[in-house]
Symmetry: C3
Subunit: 150 residues, 3 copies
């Protein structure tokens, strides 16, 4: 018989970078007693995101972060020509890393949905679920986990 379970997960990030939460999600699935179903992980923030990427070579995360930092830098938006000076962000009350964090969040994911089987996320061999902190400083981040299954 199908049933649902709602729980939450909090983590402390260390500033810009990645935290692997695959194990924590699997722990909450195990605690629910559900074996087969679908898991929704949703961030309650607008300056960090959830992403799935490689769990093996940590240099993947190095390049991924370097790319997004160059694409959405603290200096502001680039001119359409691609040349000349950037125009500073107009939303800058919380510092130069804040607006880039909102944009990086919009370009990635705020929620993820993944099937689970035998009480664990059904991921590929090389996949992990990461919290991607986009702010420069450490933040306390809260995620909700909704499970539907049996």
């Amino acid at each position: 018989m199908l049933r649902q379970s709602l729980s939450s997960l909090e983590i402390s990030t260390k500033g810009e970078g990645f935290d692997d939460i695959t194990g924590a999600i699997n722990g909450l699935i195990a605690a629910s007693g559900l074996q087969l179903g679908s898991a929704t992980i949703a961030s309650q923030h607008t300056s960090c995101s959830l992403t799935i990427n490689e769990n093996a070579d940590p240099r993947v995360l190095v390049d991924l972060a370097a790319f997004l930092r160059a694409l959405v830098p603290p200096e502001g938006v680039r001119p359409i020509s691609g040349q000349g000076e950037r125009r500073a962000w107009v939303h800058d009350d919380e510092g130069p890393d804040d607006m880039p964090a909102h944009i990086r969040t919009a370009l990635t994911c705020t929620s993820l949905v993944l099937p689970f089987q035998s009480g664990r996320l059904l991921l590929g061999t090389w996949q992990a679920v990461y919290v991607w902190e986009h702010r420069a400083r450490p933040h306390r981040r809260r995620f909700s986990l909704h499970l539907l299954g049996e």
Copy 2:
């Protein structure tokens, strides 16, 4: 006992920009009578998207739109070197704002899944759900809302 509900939501956009649909989604959740569960909002279009971002300072949306406009401009794709002239889009039957709208949609979200609790989306304090119109002119947009819960 778990049950589901499927409804739809239509809005008229005012051209490129954002419409906050958080209240409309909460209204449909309330109408369903469901208290706890998971909500899927899906766009039926390929030139507007759904996004979650800050609901407080409207300048966040100004910078967000300016960024995506510069990243995917009407002028076409930039050369890999980052310098020299852009090559015009090959798909241009519907005008210069059409192909950028398809790309901006691919870089953001066509569907969102969010848990709800006490009959309302379980969002963070600063989060709102927006329809992000990428076309220059106003459009009538249709979204489906699927609820699963009890």
Copy 3:
């Protein structure tokens, strides 16, 4: 009465490009016997993605691929100034197309959730679901499909 169904889908990509899997997903929904509900399609890879875009003019996909190729090229990350030489990817063991594939995956979607009705995905007239292969060479790709409905 609500029930769930978990199945999988494998396809062979032909290298960088798009494969329309809308029909294959509808086939699996039909096989499940479910009429109304929600479908989660999840990729088990970190170098291809799932995306929804136009099913009519194939030039949309040409421009979309050209854009992402220029945005995340094999040559590496561009300097923040937008000028000068790119810095090569540090993760390059599997060739120059590998790291761009991971980044292109992070900028698009690894899983999609869509409602279905009358035994078919509830898509807009111009929408199709594509596997977007980001690696240069053909790959065998596996997706899980989780259905919840009745």
